[in-house]
């Protein structure tokens, strides 16, 4: 009962934040027809669906495990789309090679084999570490504070996935902490939006200024 009281609001908060970012990204795609904004839309819609399934899993009774796993798969898909967007760009400034090898180095540590949920969390962790490193590398070029916040938020999501994975070893010890860190990560990613004028961006959704480009 205590878990539901804590998990439900956290998942709903995560759902709200990711749905909001996804909607803003879609308004950008509808306006300027940028493929990267479409990928961000897919990413955050998947993550929002994941949060909805995780919240629904709390009330799914005997299907709880299956619904929760489906939610984690949806979120891993979202992380994949963010990582995919990063993999399509190139840097004039290349991050140090050993820095980019971090996700590969820890792969052996996190890839488990005892459950689908376990495996999905591991994949999410690797994707998030990759995306976080790419975003921090972008920050090192642009020095934009908002990019640093997004990179830090993604890093927090990676920590949350690692703690959730650790929860399999020590059941019940880190799950709520992981969920809190995950929502804090999304919160950190949401902060930079205050300067984008959300109302104006969403208001353009129906105008389709750049349709046909």
């Amino acid at each position: 009962m205590l878990e539901i009281l804590f998990e439900l609001p956290m998942n709903l908060l995560g759902l709200g934040i990711s749905a909001f970012i996804g909607r803003f990204a879609y308004s950008g795609y509808a306006t300027v027809a940028s493929p990267n904004l479409l990928r961000l839309t897919f990413a955050f819609v998947s993550i929002a669906i994941g949060f909805a399934l995780l919240a629904g899993g709390l009330f799914a009774g005997g299907y709880s495990q299956a619904v929760t796993t489906a939610g984690l798969v949806a979120q891993a898909t979202g992380y994949f789309f963010i990582a995919f967007s990063h993999s399509l760009k190139s840097f004039d400034f290349a991050p140090p090679r050993h820095f980019l090898l971090v996700p590969l180095a820890i792969t052996g540590f996190v890839i488990p084999g005892n459950s689908i949920e376990h495996l999905v969390r591991s994949i999410s962790f690797i994707l998030l570490v990759y995306v976080s490193i790419e975003t921090i590398a972008s920050y090192m070029q642009s020095k934009r504070t908002s990019t640093l916040m997004i990179g830090s938020g993604l890093g927090l999501l990676a920590v949350a996935e690692l703690l959730s994975w650790y929860n399999f070893i020590y059941p019940g010890s880190f799950y709520l902490a992981a969920l809190s860190i995950k929502v804090a990560g999304f919160g950190l990613m949401f902060v930079p939006f205050s300067k984008f004028g959300l109302a104006s961006g969403l208001g353009r959704m129906n105008s389709q200024i750049g349709s046909g480009l």
Binding site: V32, L37, L40, I82, S85, S90, F93, R144, I150, L213
Partner: protein, 94 residues
């Protein structure tokens, strides 16, 4: 942000920005194809294709063999600037 390559959307924005400069900012006669090629830095064949699309979309209009930005084009540039900032926040290009 690295300037390694330009996306299709950013080339469109460069063309519109050039047309805007030649429509309002001291030049009120519009931009010639030469102006657009020079400022947007794209080959003639590609520029012709993009300009044709922009004209059909109502973002540019032709006036005596010169191109001027429309109100819709200015609105596009405003939105582009906003969403460019959004994408760059994620370390991405628009």
């Amino acid at each position: 942000m690295a300037a390694g390559y330009r996306t299709h959307v950013s080339i469109i924005a460069d063309i519109l920005f050039t047309a805007k400069q030649y429509s309002y900012e001291g030049y009120d006669s519009g931009a010639t194809v030469t102006h657009l090629i020079r400022k947007a830095n794209v080959p003639h064949q590609r520029l012709s294709s993009i300009v044709s699309t922009l004209t059909q979309s109502g973002l540019l209009y032709e006036d005596s063999a010169k191109y001027r930005i429309s109100e819709k084009g200015i609105e596009f540039l405003r939105a582009y600037s906003e969403f460019k900032g959004f994408a760059e926040t994620f370390g991405l290009r628009v």
